[in-house]
């Protein structure tokens, strides 16, 4: 039985379990995301935060539980998953740009093949999306000719060009050189100010403090604690949260 959508919430994941063989990676996770909300997910590696994100657009098939995104039951066999995924943008740690295409080609592929735009329409939308991430002048460059930060911004443009209702960021700055992190976070801040609902898996604590509405701490496949950035970073209640926050702040 599908859960009823709650008014105003764009993502509702309930009771998500995920097994990889004998490994129990997610142990009944609930996550709600309101319209215009930015939720930050933190936790040690292997805590299941990336898997949770990937369950939301079904890059990973949850073993059980329910996922509603923008009122669509993602796990219903009758749901057109390719159509539903257009409404969920995703940005990956390793960018995953198509190396055989230009920046514009990367952004317009799904516009043409999934959203059914003509080449001209797609190019117009593609240029607009690249302009939004500050790369209007890089449309004709291939990923190999771009810096890591620029590549990640193209990846963001690729996702937002489809006008998603929610954006998922899976450690978007983890593979960037420190001096390139700022440009990507800047684009994410702009997105947030435009009202995009976002779930961000990341260890960028400074960004979380400034931009997040809520921080979720995960460990061993479950949510341990959640609250405002101030609550989680300054006054964590759980011992495990405190240990983790202490650890990353030392770095």
């Amino acid at each position: 039985m599908a859960a009823k959508p709650i008014a105003g919430s764009i993502v509702q994941a309930r009771g998500i379990h995920k097994h990889f063989g004998a490994l129990h990676v997610l142990k009944g996770v609930d996550l709600l995301l309101a319209e215009r909300e930015l939720v930050f997910v933190i936790g040690p590696s292997g805590s299941g935060k990336s898997t949770l994100l990937r369950c939301l657009n079904r890059l990973e098939e949850p073993s059980s539980g329910s996922v509603m995104v923008d009122g669509v039951d993602m796990l219903d066999a009758r749901t057109d998953i390719n159509h539903a995924r257009q409404r969920i943008g995703m940005v990956f740690q390793s960018f995953n740009l198509y190396p055989h295409m230009t920046a514009l080609g990367n952004v317009t592929l799904a516009l043409r093949k999934v959203a059914g735009k003509t080449r001209n329409e797609a190019d117009t939308l593609g240029h607009a999306a690249l302009a939004r991430v500050g790369l209007a002048d890089r449309a004709g460059h291939t990923p190999g000719q771009l810096s890591g930060g620029q590549q990640q911004r193209v990846a963001i443009a690729r996702a937002i060009a489809l006008e998603p209702r929610v954006m998922l960021f899976d450690e978007p700055t983890s593979s960037l050189d420190p001096e390139l992190v700022g440009s990507v976070l800047g684009v994410m801040r702009d997105l947030r100010e435009s009202g995009m609902a976002m779930i961000v898996v990341s260890h960028e604590m400074g960004f979380a403090r400034n931009a997040a509405d809520r921080v979720v701490f995960m460990d061993e496949g479950a949510i341990v604690e959640e609250g405002t950035p101030a609550e989680i970073f300054e006054r964590p209640v759980q011992e495990r949260t405190r240990a983790f926050i202490g650890q990353i702040q030392r770095h």
């Binding site: 657009n57 890059l59 390719n82 159509h83 539903a84 995924r85 257009q86 969920i88 943008g89 995703m90 990956f92 390793s94 995953n96 740009l97 198509y98 190396p99 055989h100 592929l109 799904a110 093949k113 999934v114 959203a115 990846a155 690729r158 996702a159 489809l162």
Partner: protein, 221 residues
């Protein structure tokens, strides 16, 4: 010696027959190479399906046709099947044999190419709503082909050479025509001529292949 193996008089008499054979070899290659590639593409695409009910029969199929000598396969189709009442012409037999044999080879090469493309590529494509087949077509295969281009070219070279097997089932290709001319003239010159033509036709491909392979090695270094 020259009179025996490169008799100009014989060349003059046989060149028309041999040229017709060359034309047929080119035509035959233009049919069997795409056919093999098509079979290989189908196999490589199916190989990305994780279902064991698809995977295991597929592996058995590929293994079988890679281990089975194409000449034996061709003769079986041409001379064996008629006993079961199935009479296929020489051309159809060649097409089927090449589809099965070189398709299996192309399939293995393309599969390796597909596996060389990081999974993040298809995940990114799927996350934007592209379907499985679209992802394969627009994102994975272009990169896969580029990654295994030397192997694809090398196999294509083998396929063109293997079209000479068609002579066994009376396809009037280069080798068959040369042998016809040889038996008409009682002289081996036509065979030498055919050999020279094969060489001249394939040598540029061999050079190109060496360059690609060197570049691939340099790129890896």
């Amino acid at each position: 010696m020259l009179q025996t193996f490169f008799n100009l008089e014989i060349v003059g008499a046989a060149w028309r027959i041999i040229l017709a054979g060359l034309g047929n070899t080119v035509l035959l290659s233009l049919v069997v190479v795409p056919l093999g590639l098509l079979g290989g593409l189908a196999l490589a695409t199916l190989a990305s399906v994780r279902n064991p009910w698809v995977r295991w029969p597929l592996m058995a199929w590929v293994d079988f046709f890679r281990a089975f000598p194409p000449l034996v396969l061709l003769i079986f189709l041409f001379a064996g099947l008629p006993f079961a009442g199935v009479e296929l012409g020489g051309f159809a037999c060649v097409c089927i044999a090449f589809f099965l044999n070189t398709g299996a080879y192309y399939g293995e090469i393309l599969r390796a190419g597909v596996e060389s493309v990081p999974t993040g590529q298809s995940e990114a494509a799927r996350s934007t709503g592209l379907g499985r087949l679209q992802t394969m077509l627009f994102v994975v295969l272009p990169q896969a082909v580029r990654n295994v281009l030397p192997d694809l070219l090398s196999n294509t070279l083998e396929v063109v050479k293997l079209t000479s097997l068609g002579s066994v089932v009376a396809m009037p290709e280069l080798l068959f025509q040369a042998r016809q001319a040889q038996s008409l003239t009682y002289n081996p010159t036509p065979i030498v001529l055919a050999a020279a033509i094969y060489f001249l036709m394939l040598w540029p491909l061999v050079r190109l292949l060496s360059r690609l392979e060197n570049r691939a090695l340099a790129g890896r270094g």
